[in-house]
């Protein structure tokens, strides 16, 4: 095994593999940093270039790119509150508040350090785990996946701060949204209202960008302050503070590395939830929870460690068992086959050196990527001190393009705007958004697993699965701990919330609860007429969802002083007016896209925003629009080869 370890290292650091690795890292940093792009898009674009390469170079190129996307995705998460990739959603919860406090550099320092360490330690842990990999992977089948999904939902208690009921309602809402489109067994499309776009379900990226990015952009546009509320001369944090934070929380880093490796190893589940599992873990295991959601550096360290450590874990089921855990790993498997290699037990025996060369690639890429970002981090963090009106247009461009990349459909833009509105109202109404995303991600995984479990297993067979029993016990324990801590918080005079803004308006909360209740009722009615395997899961979700909503509405109506909660200020009419006006602008950008296509509409939006909202001179607006157009053309047309909307004017 030691020989294979060494041979793997030598083959990666030899020319030309190391050159391809370096190129892959540079490309990966870009794909991670731009919201909407991701390691998956990068893999698909780079794959054809590897057809003629020899195996080690090909994997150095692909994995070098793939490894660092979850390092650079921190940039958008921290600076803008937008997840750079799906794996950095949990980072927003504390990363963005840190940026608002003028501590973006510190957040970067911590995130980049733990990304490198997580990648490195993850590979070591994986190497040590190879003897137990086979029984571990083979013993996690559909019943275990369903229960793991349930465990993820049980963590809603940890993600919803003071209001567990609202957290559960948001999770149920997310689950219900995930049922749109063809049911797992096919044949019956659900809630598609005659729109082909919805047949395959609502894509994740427009939902996440809408829920998280648009409310923050809207906030910046209304306030016109910089992202950092603290002036530049008073902000004291540096990259090194973050590095020190990472060192101080070394035990957390090790724990989250283990979470990353072992959750990542579970095919089909790992990558999508590993950041949430790590975040849930750090909140549950911390004594002082008061700062989570307000800029606690541990809330950045946990997910950022896990999402890099996860990649080594995800590699193993792919190469050793031909079970790709994610779409990116499916491409890697394709590359493996194109290279004439076969996944199978030989990848852990006779071809172990190739497997190790892949791990070394991950290690080197993680360290190099993190070092590069450390060097640039201080400069990047300065974005937080730029005036809001100069940032809003470019962020809007990324958000619109990120959403568009999901399906290249006008439906993506509609979904973005609708969930932007939903996200803003949820934020203002104090309904936590993270559980919605978690429910949405877990919905299809759990439905698939439940369906196969119910049709493929008997009760006696299920009872003989010890791992299922252990996870079930974990679910019960998690709920019990969350309920206890929730009750304690309620009893405590000093109610500490996290995960959402402290200021929220009970009237908006009530309105949103009514909207969600109506959605549950709408989803429940047709479920009665569907076949069992199609309607079962929507019923199981919406009926308790309605019950929880009724309780939450009852509690909201009992409030004697509507408009004030914990001293919070209700949403004022001028703020609401400005928000509506900005939302109209966003809709205008969407409509302009339909008429003239993105290459005209988005630069136009950027230029006009600078002129009208920003009040800057015309030449600045024109220059801004020109640079935006150039960026769109080079980065999205030439590199990503995006399908632009066939506009009404230009065809």
């Amino acid at each position: 095994m030691f020989d294979a370890l060494l041979v793997g290292l030598v083959s990666v650091v030899a020319w030309p593999a190391i050159g391809w690795l370096g190129l892959g890292v540079m490309i990966g940093l870009y794909f991670g940093a731009v919201p909407g792009l991701s390691g998956l898009v990068g893999m698909a674009i780079l794959l054809p270039f590897t057809f003629g390469m020899e195996p080690v170079s090909a994997f150095a190129f692909l994995l070098g790119m793939f490894a660092v996307t979850t390092t650079s995705d921190t940039i958008a998460s921290v600076l803008l509150g937008i997840p750079g990739t799906a794996a950095s959603q949990a980072t927003i919860l504390d990363g963005y508040p840190m940026a608002m406090r003028g501590e973006a550099a510190r957040a970067f320092g911590a995130a980049f350090t733990v990304s490198a360490v997580g990648g490195l330690l993850g590979a070591v842990m994986l190497g040590l785990s190879i003897p137990i990999v086979k029984p571990l992977i083979l013993s996690f089948a559909q019943p275990e996946f369903f229960l793991l999904g349930l465990l993820g939902l049980a963590m809603v208690g940890s993600l919803s701060g003071g209001s567990m009921i609202k957290g559960l309602i948001a999770a149920m809402f997310g689950l219900t949204l995930s049922y749109v489109g063809y049911s797992v067994t096919g044949g019956t499309p659900r809630y598609w209202v005659g729109m082909t776009y919805l047949l395959d379900g609502i894509p994740l990226i427009p939902i996440v960008l809408g829920l998280f990015a648009l409310p923050e952009v809207l906030d910046l546009a209304i306030r016109d302050s910089s992202i950092s509320r603290v002036p530049r001369d008073q902000a004291k944090s540096s990259i090194y503070d973050g590095v020190r934070d990472a060192g101080r929380h070394w035990w957390l880093v090790i724990r989250c590395t283990a979470i990353g490796v072992y959750v990542g190893m579970l095919p089909g589940l790992g990558g999508s939830i590993v950041d949430w599992v790590a975040y849930g873990h750090v909140v549950q295991s911390s004594r002082d929870k008061s700062q989570f959601g307000k800029g606690d550096v541990r809330g950045v360290i946990a997910p950022e460690t896990a999402n890099n450590a996860m990649k080594g874990g995800a590699l193993i089921p792919t190469v050793a068992f031909g079970i790709p855990g994610s779409a990116s790993m499916a491409i890697l498997l394709g590359a493996l086959l194109i290279q004439g290699l076969q996944p199978g037990p030989e990848m852990l025996t006779t071809n172990l050196h190739i497997t190790f060369s892949m791990m070394w690639t991950l290690v080197i890429a993680n360290v190099v990527g993190a070092l590069l970002l450390m060097v640039w981090g201080s400069q990047i963090a300065k974005v937080t001190f730029i005036k809001g009106h100069l940032i809003v247009p470019v962020v809007c461009m990324f958000v619109f393009m990120g959403a568009w990349l999901a399906n290249n459909s006008p439906g993506d833009l509609a979904a973005l705007l609708i969930f932007g509105l939903v996200g803003y109202l949820m934020k203002q109404g104090g309904i936590p958004r993270p559980p919605l995303v978690l429910g949405f991600i877990l919905g299809p995984i759990m439905e698939d697993a439940l369906h196969i479990t119910m049709s493929g297993y008997t009760g006696a067979e299920l009872a003989q699965r010890p791992i299922s029993m252990i996870i079930l016990a974990g679910v019960i324990l998690t709920i019990a701990i969350a309920a206890r801590s929730n009750l304690r918080q309620r009893k405590s005079a000093d109610v500490k919330k996290f995960g959402e803004t402290e200021t929220w308006d009970p009237r908006i909360s009530l309105f949103m609860l009514l909207v969600i209740t109506a959605s549950f009722v709408y989803a429940l009615i047709p479920a009665f007429s569907w076949p069992d395997d199609v309607g079962r899961i929507p019923m199981v979700t919406t009926i308790p969802g309605i019950a929880l909503c009724v309780v939450a509405i009852f509690l909201a109506l009992r409030r004697k002083t509507p408009g004030v909660e914990n001293g919070a200020v209700a949403l004022t009419a001028p703020v609401l007016g400005r928000a509506t006006y900005f939302f109209v602008w966003l809709c205008g950008a969407g409509a302009a896209t339909m008429i003239a296509g993105q290459l005209v509409a988005l630069p136009l939006f950027m230029g006009l925003y600078i002129l009208v909202w920003g009040g800057y001179k015309w030449w600045l607006g024109a220059a801004y629009a020109a640079v935006g157009l150039g960026f769109l053309y080079v980065m999205f047309d030439e590199i990503v080869a995006v399908i632009w909307y066939p506009s009404l004017i230009f065809g």
């Binding site: 998956l40 898009v41 893999m43 698909a44 794959l47 054809p48 057809f51 083979l138 013993s139 089948a141 559909q142 489109g181 063809y182 797992v184 067994t185 096919g186 044949g187 499309p189 598609w192 082909t196 776009y197 047949l199 395959d200 095919p267 089909g268 068992f321 031909g322 079970i323 790709p324 779409a327 990116s328 499916a330 491409i331 498997l333 394709g334 086959l337 194109i338 290279q339 004439g340 076969q342 996944p343 199978g344 037990p345 030989e346 399906n407 290249n408 459909s409 698939d448 369906h451 196969i452 049709s455 493929g456 076949p531 395997d533 080869a641 995006v642 399908i643 066939p646 065809g651």
Partner: protein, 359 residues
Amino acid sequence: MVRLIKGLVFTLSAAIIFAAGTASAQFYKGKRLTVIINYGAGGPTDVEGRLLAKHLARNIPGNPTVIVKNRPGAGGIVGSNFMAEVAKPDGLTIAIFTPPTISQLLGDPGLRADFSSFEWLAGVGQPQICYLRNDAGGGVKGPGDLVKIKGFKAAGMRNTSSHDLRLRLALDLLGADYKYVTGYRGLSKVAAGVLQNETQFSCGSVPNYRGRVEPTMITPGVARSMYYYAPVLADGSDVKYPDLAGIPTFREFYAKVRGGAPSGIKWEALKVVNNVSTYMLRGSFAPKGTPAAALADLRAAWAKLPNDAVFVAQYTKAFKAPPKIVAASVAKAHIDSIKTTDPQIVEFLKDFAKGGKKK
């Protein structure tokens, strides 16, 4: 005089061919050809489509630059609607799809494209091979045990998919005692389920079988191959694939374990679903109204691929089987056969798919 006429005809023909060739070469020279794929990045359709697109471009006169774009969704339906309603017939956009032919056969409500209306360029076929775990039903010693063991679980993806329809029709014809478990998203998840002994039987395309099933299950002795679905010709004979020598066709398997030949509506339905799904596992076409010069170049490029040694070597290395390309006219005939399918068989298949929960 005759020689003069012959000479003139020859010269004129040569001039026409040359002119057509020149005009045709000019069509793609300096242009960009966009290839649309109707599944997401990284899936089997995408990987195969990108390899085909790369080598197709090398064989098109004028060597256009090629870019590949994914248009995924709804089991390939979104991309199909895109090609019918949005893609311009200017010769610069073509499709390399896994065409959702069964969706058209069964009348899927979301599918607005009529596949017969497209300008077909070629088809790429691959049969499916079925495999069974050796420890199923207490132990499998020979292929014939498939019909002797009780209560094994057969894994599928979606009850209206050609994979599941063929799997159930074939097992029903054999009279096997099985439990149908569907809902796995993709062939690799199906194979993972069999590897984990969650299910014991399923089928996969040749690339799936050679690339994933064989190294993880067949070679280590966990499972064994049973049969492959060979297309059936009009004269009733099987189309046999030399690279699958050693694995019986379904009909050979049936004759061995049941005796005689399969018959009845299930057999007729299996032939319909299998023929179009096997020959047209992938299909390439252009929008209706694409210029004739572009179509001629594209079809000629597809026709060259089976003899392109570089392509064949890369394809065979990647998919563990030689490419099985069918010409444009054959592809079109298979697609047209969907519309001429006996309505009785279509109705049977619709009912059969609905009943596909459990045996």
